[in-house]
Symmetry: C2
Subunit: 72 residues, 2 copies
């Protein structure tokens, strides 16, 4: 699994675990919903600034975000 797919899947898992919609995350992060969808589907090479915006919106630190076996 490539890194874009791993990051996208992790973002989706965290979002769903918090019962947030893409619309809500888009509104709160000021990042376009279609971009969020593409990132979650592994089709975007997200930058660290946008990744931080999304993780902040999702209420998870980057330390906890990457703290899974997928990233070890």
């Amino acid at each position: 699994m490539d890194i874009k797919t791993k990051v996208g899947a992790r973002l989706r898992d965290v979002r769903l675990a918090k019962k947030l919609t893409q619309e809500k995350v888009s509104f709160d992060s000021d990042i376009d919903k279609s971009y969020i969808s593409e990132v979650e589907n592994g089709r975007r090479n997200i930058s660290i600034v946008n990744l931080e915006k999304l993780t902040l919106t999702l209420g998870i630190s980057l330390k906890d975000f990457f703290n899974t076996t997928d990233f070890s």
Copy 2:
């Protein structure tokens, strides 16, 4: 400290701890040395694909890379 600066400082710390030069990391990662220098100086919004290339070259997982208080 913004995320670009944090990531850049962390990359430099890991590189220096492993006694690697920017030239060596550039050669092994196939990423331009001046780009690496700019990332380390917090002037680049690095993508997840390039960040993974650099952490792989530095021999550190993304899980361990982000496992510092700077990212919590």
